[in-house]
Amino acid sequence: MKKKALILLTAMLAIASMPALAQNDMSSEKLRALGKKVVLDRKKGNCVACHVIEDLEAPGTFGPPLIAMSVRYPDKAKLRAQIWDATKRNILTSMPPFGKHMILTEEEIDWVTEYIHSL
């Protein structure tokens, strides 16, 4: 019985540490690809509904085109903050507060930030 519990505990620990390992292992290219998916997904970021982004389909015009982002946001944290809660900078904005209202998970916001920053 004790042995079984020990095995279970070890297995649980191993599983718990797996995502962290996987995250570290993920190349930034992979993160950007994941971010791009979220940006396009109507049920997730749906950023293209409002922003012109690269060559992505259905570009909207509510917000400004997202180009030269690394130049305009040298500080990646500032970019992430804008995505997490755009109302902080402008209370009247139409841009949804993706983090604050849990529209996206923290992890998804990391991916999106990686992708947008690369534009």
Partner: protein
Amino acid sequence: MIRLLTIVSLLFLSTLGTWAQAKDSTPAEDREALRKYFQSKFPDIPLDAYKDGAYIFDPKARAQFEEIEEFPPWEFDVEEGEALFKAPFKNGKTYADCFENGGIGIAQKYPLWDEKREEVVTLPLAINLCRQANGEEPLPYEKSDLLKIQAFMAYTSRGKRIEGPEPTGKALEAYKKGREYYYSKRGQLHMTCANCHLQHAASRLRYELPGPLLGQTTHWPAYRSKWEELGDIQRRYKECNKQVRAKDLPYQAEEYRNLQYYMHQMDIGLEFNGPSSRK
């Protein structure tokens, strides 16, 4: 609540510029400010054009719209609606007995403040109240003969101007509630009606154009290609609320009626052109 009101007045201030006393402004002042806002933003668009909604920003969709209107998809609904409207109830009375001028040419006055009921009454609600007063069951507000009756009544108002008395007292309170609804953030996506229909009326949301607040009440019921049938303005309220993942309200909820009352006040003087067709 305070936060909400701040947002409301901030939005008035930012979008409507000089409108410093938003919360205390009268419907007439609000109407004036709204028209100034759109006219300064789109100086080439005459006030009378706003009855055609988003089409004023999209010549291609407009051409399609005009083609559709040559053989309107709501034509048979109006015919059937007329027959339904004229058919007597079991007690021998008809709809005409419930309405001013026998119900002809009065759709442009709705929604209105009903002094006796002390609430806003929309045209579909008035139709159902008439049924109930005559011992008939009310009709559903979607996919039902109600839309046909409404379409017929609307048809007899074509070309008239949206009208209604300036709200005072309790009616003014209802107006203010409707106005607050329009400018309040809602839903998980945290957007106001004004975000889409004032700030971004002519912007693209993917392929869609939200269209301006001004003129949103002039043309109901509308045949939407997406619905493939007639629907009322509140059906679109429900869709817009769903779009921002906000709480859905039942048809003719007090909030929706007050909202419609506010929007109707903004359109006073515009031409009534229901029933209509929309993308």
